[in-house]
């Protein structure tokens, strides 16, 4: 529990910290990049879970993550194309990706029930962190109304995932 909360807090402070460090709020091309990256990270984690998880609910959860995040990211790509915006890499995206690949390697060393628990705990923490960033940083900073709308839908989806992950975590105990 303590570890999980710490991870969530760390991820959140990294997310907001990196963006704030630039001294200005993120631009729409940067926000699009961050949101897309956040989705890709969860899809990659879910693919690992499908090959490694032993519990059927955990596997089903991972499949739900792939389905939803691919759908959100497809909408995001359609939107940036429509708006003629080129997503722009930035420190927040880089930090997120680095942190995610470290986490993937860490989870990769686990197996069986230990893996299942660690994956789901990280999903709770990760979605919590992304939701925090969406609410406090990304949504308020977005200037395009359609981008803002998509982020708001994304927030509701991710909040749903967080609750779903919490439910799966409770079942594993």
């Amino acid at each position: 529990m303590f570890v999980r909360l710490t991870a969530a807090a760390a991820a959140l402070s990294l997310l907001t910290g990196a963006a704030l460090a630039q001294g200005a709020k993120p631009t729409d091309p940067q926000i699009a990049h961050i949101a897309y990256t956040a989705g890709v990270i969860d899809i990659t984690a879910a693919k690992q879970a499908i090959s490694k998880a032993s519990n059927k609910d955990v596997k089903a959860f991972a499949e739900d993550m792939i389905r939803d995040h691919e759908a959100v990211n497809k909408q995001a790509l359609d939107l940036v194309k429509k708006l003629k915006v080129t997503p722009e890499d930035n420190d927040t995206s880089k930090t997120l990706s680095k942190q995610a690949s470290d986490k993937l390697a860490e989870l990769g060393k686990l197996s069986g029930a230990a893996y299942d628990k660690a994956y789901v705990a990280n999903e709770v923490a990760y979605h919590k962190a992304v939701n925090g960033a969406l609410e406090t940083q990304l949504i308020p900073s977005a200037s395009n109304a359609e981008l803002k709308g998509l982020l708001q839908t994304g927030l509701k989806i991710f909040q749903g995932h967080q609750q779903h992950a919490e439910h799966v975590a409770a079942e594993l105990k």
Binding site: D64, R67, D68, A71, K74, Q75, T153, K156, I157, Q159, G160, H161, Q163, H164, H167
Partner: protein, 106 residues
């Protein structure tokens, strides 16, 4: 089928109008942008629900008491007939923050 209808009519004539169920209605429940609307609906046993999923995400309408569990593919509509009375709280298993109530009168 015909025989059933005739029997029902005969029964209605014999027992009076109160024994005849009201005409079954069709009601629509929409899921859009992760929101179920209306959030609360009153219906009767025998009514048909059209579950309309306008999202690009899959959803479910899952009764907490186990009375029904409807899976809705993205952009699809599914119909189901209400068979049991009660106040049923339901939610989406994929996005448990989507919640609503169906009040089904006998």
């Amino acid at each position: 089928m015909r025989t059933g209808t005739c029997l029902a009519v005969v029964a209605a004539l014999m027992f009076g109008a109160t024994a005849v169920p009201a005409h079954a209605a069709t009601l629509q429940i929409v899921m859009e942008n992760l929101v179920v609307s209306p959030a609360e609906v009153s219906a009767r046993v025998g009514d048909t629900v059209e579950w309309i999923n306008k999202d690009v995400f899959a959803h479910t309408a899952t009764a907490r008491n186990g009375d029904f569990d409807v899976t809705l593919a993205p952009k699809k509509t599914v119909t189901s007939v209400l068979t049991k009375a009660g106040t049923v709280e339901y939610y989406c298993r994929y996005h448990p923050n989507m919640k609503a109530v169906l009040k089904i009168a006998p």
